[in-house]
Amino acid sequence: MMETSVALEGVASQAAAAKRAEEHALVRKAQGGDRLAFEELVRQYDRQVLRLALNIVNRPEDAQDIYQESFLRVYRNLGRFRFESSFHTWLYRIVTNTALDHLRRRTSRREDQAPAPEGADGGTRDFFDQQPTPHPAANPERRLMGREVGEQISAAMKRLTPRERVVFEMKHNLGMRLRAIGEMLGTSEETVKNSLFRATQKLRESLAGLR
């Protein structure tokens, strides 16, 4: 049994090493100007990047901006990447910095405080409002309730500071460890824990009525 366990661990670590080596080679190629290699790197990570951005900024058009700005920064600075951290860590450092810049810019511009207009009715809805609830069409009351829940969650998320929001999403959306998040944000694990704790506390207070 122990032999099986060791064998499984061996296979897993070999697979991880092979994946790292493959990624390393791709980065090298991209650094050498191979556009296809760069696009493959993008494809490996871009769904997660967009998902993170979407949940941080709540608005698809803002998420698109963060997506594009992040990957362009990666493209422009790839030559400076020295493999001192994993590509994954380096990429997410850029993405989180871009998202933080974006949130701070948005916070400082009053006109951006309002949610983006959506839909034919000219109403204002943001990302959470647009998320469908399971089988909403079958039950208008449930659909209405789902929208109200979405609005309350959206309002609760807006109470978080940019850093709290980024930490919360990286932990609960991407499932990253707090230590890794700290490395990406260039801060200590302790600070990240505090941000997560404050974010959770604010959300708990804001959404108490829903539970």
């Binding site: 979407l54 704790f197 959404l207």
Partner: protein
């Protein structure tokens, strides 16, 4: 006494203490006088998962087991996270496709700027780069000639790039051949492909391209745009339709016995971070029918070990029921069940693991080896869940008549 890092978390700003009677507000554990408010940060980390080390985990779990207020606080944390997770969505395929297209355009512009910059530097020198466009007429005849050459050269290099069309990784011909031969593939580009009456040619193509469609798709870069499972009445295998978003969209239809379908489903489990939980749950459910296939068994074990969604891990554990087979396969399944019982942070998954272990023991599929007994003893003594402790003790009794412990 070792003081773990987690204990240093926010002693002064631990947050709102739970409104509990004073008698409940003190931790009754010997040598530990933390208030519930002081436990709050650790409860947040416990609910977040995979953040507490073994010592801290044991302490906070021990406290939660004894303190009604903190136990309720933990439940509230989990409810909150579940509520937020329910509302959290993946970007849809059109949004991702739009992002990719825009990025490609932006990269094209970057490359063009790079070439123009290079030409500017080559012609006028780097010190004049900033204002070369306004001063280029000042250059002499020879420089003008050089500029014209450079412009011609760059047009030759950039022209084809600007005019190029994306080349599909899967040719319509390949899709068509496979669709016609296997009867289960509908490439969107092949909607009006027409019937091929030459059956022998089709069979030859089928033999040559059993895996060609999916492997030509380059799964690591393709996206899943949709998965629909249709369950026929009776005992037939469910039919699945997988819509894949590559440079050309492709739709696969069939059941899990179809190699292309199986390959995509396995890929979804093996590279689970790229797919949403609902799709992974469907993949596990569909693959369950072939759980004695070594590839499927390995993917299910991988899912139990690595999937970040407890519901998917739990379903994968269920799907391993009867997957053991003989020898190495049996060892792998047992190892996976034991790993889940010992290490999974989710009590639901651990409950499924201990139940599975007891089932396996009842069927004589578990030898009473040291590793199994060690895990069960550990859970019997330490698991915060009463049911798991009781089931572990029962499993030890079932497995252990021949062992001294």
């Amino acid at each position: 006494m070792q003081r773990d890092e987690n204990e240093k978390l926010m002693p002064a700003t631990a947050g709102t203490p739970e409104k509990t009677p004073p008698s409940q507000n003190e931790d009754g554990a010997p040598g530990n006088s933390k208030t519930c408010a002081e436990w709050a940060p650790q409860i947040v980390l416990l609910a977040a998962g995979e953040e507490l080390d073994a010592v801290a985990l044991e302490r906070v779990a021990g406290h939660v087991a004894e303190c009604a207020a903190c136990s309720a606080a933990l439940d509230r944390e989990k409810e909150l996270l579940a509520l937020l997770a329910e509302r959290r969505k993946n970007p849809d395929a059109p949004l991702l496709a739009e992002c990719r297209a825009n990025l490609e355009d932006a990269l094209d512009r970057e490359e063009e700027r790079g070439w123009l910059g290079w030409i500017g530097r080559a012609v006028f020198g780097s010190n004049r780069q900033a204002n070369w466009s306004s001063n280029w007429l000042e250059a002499g005849t020879s420089w003008s000639a050089a500029l014209l050459l450079a412009v011609g050269f760059s047009a030759g290099v950039l022209g084809p790039r600007l005019l190029r069309h994306p080349v599909a990784p899967v040719s319509p011909t390949t899709q068509k051949a496979a669709a016609e031969t296997t009867g289960n593939l509908n490439g969107d580009t092949d909607a009006n492909g027409g019937a091929n009456s030459d059956e022998s040619a089709s069979r030859e193509a089928s033999a040559a391209s059993t895996h060609s469609v999916v492997s030509a798709l380059d799964l690591p870069t393709a996206d899943l745009a949709g998965i629909n499972v249709m369950r026929p009445d009776g005992g037939d295998l469910p039919q699945v339709r997988l819509q894949l978003q590559a440079r050309e969209p492709v739709t696969l239809e069939g059941n899990v016995n179809d190699d292309n379908v199986e390959q995509v489903l396995l890929y979804m489990l093996n590279d689970n971070a790229r797919f949403c939980s609902g799709a992974r749950l469907d993949a596990v459910d569909l693959l369950r029918a072939r759980n004695s296939d070594p590839k499927v068994r390995t993917a299910l074990c991988h899912t139990v070990h690595t999937d970040h969604d407890a519901a998917v891990r739990l379903k994968a554990l269920e799907a391993l029921d009867g997957a053991g087979g003989e020898g190495e396969g049996e060892g792998m399944v047992l190892q996976t069940v034991l790993d889940a019982l010992q290490s999974d942070q989710n009590p639901g998954v651990r409950i499924e693991a201990v139940d599975t272990l007891r089932d396996m023991a009842a069927k004589g599929q578990v030898a009473s080896d040291d590793r199994a007994l060690a895990v069960l003893r550990d859970r019997m003594a330490k698991d915060p869940d009463t049911y798991i402790r009781a089931q572990s003790a029962a499993a030890i009794q079932e497995l252990g008549p021949h062992q001294k412990f």
